[in-house]
Symmetry: C2
Subunit: 240 residues, 2 copies
Amino acid sequence: MDISRHDIHSCEIPSLCKACEVRHKGMCGALNPDELTLLSRHTRQIEHPSGEELVGESTHVEAYDNIMRGVVKLSKTLEDGRQQIVGLQFAPDLVGRLYASESPMTAEAASDVEVCRVPRATLERLIDRNPALRKRLMEQALRELDEARDWMVTLGRKTAAEKVASLLLLIATHLDPDATGERRIFDLPMSRLDIADYLGLTIETVSRQFSRLKKDGIIAITANRHIEVLSLAKLQARCG
Amino acid sequence: MDISRHDIHSCEIPSLCKACEVRHKGMCGALNPDELTLLSRHTRQIEHPSGEELVGESTHVEAYDNIMRGVVKLSKTLEDGRQQIVGLQFAPDLVGRLYASESPMTAEAASDVEVCRVPRATLERLIDRNPALRKRLMEQALRELDEARDWMVTLGRKTAAEKVASLLLLIATHLDPDATGERRIFDLPMSRLDIADYLGLTIETVSRQFSRLKKDGIIAITANRHIEVLSLAKLQARCG
DNA sequence: ACCCGACCTTGATCAAGATCAATTTTGCCC
DNA sequence: GGGCAAAATTGATCTTGATCAAGGTCGGGT
């Protein structure tokens, strides 16, 4: 068996797999045993309760955070306090702007989050040596760029109704990528204020749009964050 | 002399330098002579007049375009025709979504543009072999991601007046990065419609904001696209 | 179960920017 | 320079979403 290319789900070496799964989620396929050992010596596992800041905007950054569990919210703030959420990250994404010593934005735990914190120098050395890890990070950057540009269309050109529908569709498809049929049930990983800050709207407008989707029988809401999408097709039709 | 790391501006081998400067702007520092030869055999130099499409949205992509001269406009369009510009690229950026066979957006010449077209397979092979080229492309992707996220704040949270001021400031600083003092003179590389599509506004609103900046003595406009910024500080103060 | 504060919804009003409709200006071709 | 189409400006009006202001609901703690 080729250990350097083993997989979390099919690994046949439990001890190594355990270390991998617990401490280095998503880097797993990219590292050989020596590299895993190096990584293990320099990393710490950290738990962040919902709302806690992982990295502050314009602060000096000494480490990257590999997400093991939970959702991380990336945001930027203007001097007068206006805020815009510029992205969400999920396991096994790496949090932190590669090759920059100062963070261009705030990273905050949207849900309870578990990360594996790797010192800058350690990770950057691994990147230089390991093609698979490099490729994974390149692909993350390109995927995030695609997502950011998609979202620019939503922010710049869609109506409030289309923005809210687009977000619900994004979350529905993201949280359960291979579900089939017209229905989806999930819990929103964010408050109304977060949603407003993601969509460039106010909480009142978001709330009104939710009410309208409910009245039109496209979604059902119980307990504020628990959403039931009743017709994915109708939701899609409202995305512009 | 280390040919593999030679520079456009300091190259001491004229023939190679000429090929490099004319055909592979910006890849120059990243390639050794063998690689340059490989590249030269597979690439073509192409001129695009302003307005011509380099790559269409959702079309199959067979090549990347290295910008030699001019400005390229990246845009996305909704079914009903609403358009959003999601980025601008300048020499020596590489146009085209790496590792994707289908383009996620339209790339169009904003000014007259000269590119060097490299087949997908050729460039991807070079990326695997050449660390410096890889690094350059990784840094382009990360820089574009930073720019996209900055723009998301502008699109989602700024007023029309702040948006227009932000764009003028962006262009002023981009076209002449090391100018000093309070004044800047330049030609806009885009029409009012393009500006509106970049800012998520209508042409009428853009025009009114230009008139207001003119009335307030912050800019002077002659001949539609010729802009004179009279006070960079006052412009900056209006960016939010 | 009850309380309390945070979060959410709903309504009334307001204002920023879109839309509709003329002009005016510019660049361009002859 | 005159003519013309495309691009830009300006004005009047309308619409969408922001703002202001109450209430209502949820969830955690005692």
